[in-house]
Symmetry: C2
Subunit: 233 residues, 2 copies
DNA sequence: TTCAAAAACTGATAAAACTCATATTTTCCG
DNA sequence: CGGAAAATATGAGTTTTATCAGTTTTTGAA
């Protein structure tokens, strides 16, 4: 029933992923060494503290990358979607994973062993340049998150988080945008308590900005969210 | 009176900076194109919103990299010391500076034009590999900051900030560590209000962990700071 | 369909940190 | 050295957000 992984040469992300600059023979080699895997909602793709053995390419689904505090509180560092690369930072830095990657949906992922990845980066300058730009962009994004966490109140950060979910996961033309996400996960993106998230979501509902059905949130008025999120920019 | 910049070939950081893997002829070329500058305390080295024209190498002094909120609140993203590279993220990402670099002391900096930097990165794989690792490490550091900001209370973050200052700026053998830093800057590292910083510093003083003379803070008991900073790790 | 578990929601209270006001000390310029 | 400006320090009161306790709704499996 589950769709098999296509060959890298015919992968729908071959022209948009980190490997878009690869030659055909490189894609073939990639295809030989890669390993396809499925994860159910909640399953761990890689775990904080483990040594990276390669990198991951998301083929379908949604993934959260997050760290746990000792008090059980979770902070989501990044959201990944199909076509995204996971786990490259630790591999390059040659350190253990500092965060875990967990499937938010039924998710399919290709694993590329470190040896193959390193070979590719060494041999293809275009790939290594793209990788560098990816790192630079990720660094910029993380700095933005840091700034907003430090400077914006929860209401604005929540508005921003909803817009992030929309810009990350909205499919072409599917309007209005809807997503099923637990209040707990949402609070881990925003960096606050789940009750606080719920309260502000209720406020957004009263203002007609969103509606909810269970854990499903529908964004009716993204413009208002933009206005709220950038109140102090 | 001011010491002149030495040639890159005999720079004291030639074996520890980003350019440690350069050949002699590359260092010579670097030396030709570089431009040496001095900055007084408070002077801007590069400014948020401007386009990067190259990268900076700190030769002496201390630099803060920070962003301003519209309400005038500042968040310090990074502290740089002699031997460190500045402004590379924006250049690689080909975006405007998202933060400003400001001298915290009398500071000397070499500027390397983008063309020269890019040429070097293109031609010397070792340099580009090191640059990639630098980005990966910076990303890891920033993620750590994000997590701590989200999860740790101010008291712990302040202890951490003091340890960061110590690990960044303590000179070989100079014990106990002292640094002159405004409470305002310290609060911009921690991500809190300056009064809050002052209150916890007073507490640390009462506990004999630090002493202060004006804006000079001396760390008497770093071990206690470690204990405080990792209370919930 | 039903029921139990999980998740969403609501309210009350407490804690952490911010703001504002003001006193005191330090800095540094003339 | 003197004095004004800046920075540090402290106190009181307020705001924001967290925590805890409980209710209602949703979900998913028997």
């Amino acid at each position: 029933m589950k769709p098999q992984a296509p060959h890298c040469q015919s992968c729908q992300f071959k022209d948009s992923s980190l490997f878009k600059q690869c030659h055909i023979h490189e894609l073939e080699e990639l295809n030989e060494s890669k390993c396809f895997n499925s994860y159910k909602k909640g399953q761990v793709i890689f775990h904080e503290g483990n040594r990276p053995l390669g990198i991951f390419c998301v083929y379908s689904g949604k993934v959260k990358v997050s760290r746990m505090g000792s008090d059980g509180k979770e902070q989501i560092i990044r959201l990944a979607k199909k076509g995204d690369t996971l786990g490259y930072r630790s591999l390059i830095d040659n350190t253990k994973y500092t965060a875990s990657a967990i499937a938010l949906d039924e998710t399919e992922v290709c694993f590329i062993p470190a040896a193959e990845f390193n070979k590719l980066v060494d041999e293809n300058v275009k790939v290594s340049t793209d990788l560098m730009k990816m790192l630079a962009r990720a660094l910029g994004d993380t700095q933005d998150k840091l700034i907003h966490l430090a400077m914006k109140p929860v209401r604005e950060r929540l508005a921003e988080a909803l817009l992030l979910l929309k810009s990350t996961y909205q499919e072409e033309g599917k309007t209005p945008f809807s997503i099923s996400i637990s209040r707990e996960d949402l609070s881990s993106i925003v960096g606050t308590a789940k009750e606080t998230v719920i309260r502000f979501l209720s406020e957004f509902k009263e203002d007609g900005i969103i509606t909810t059905h269970g854990s499903e949130i529908t964004i009716l008025n993204p413009e208002k969210l933009v206005k709220i999120s950038s109140m102090y920019d």
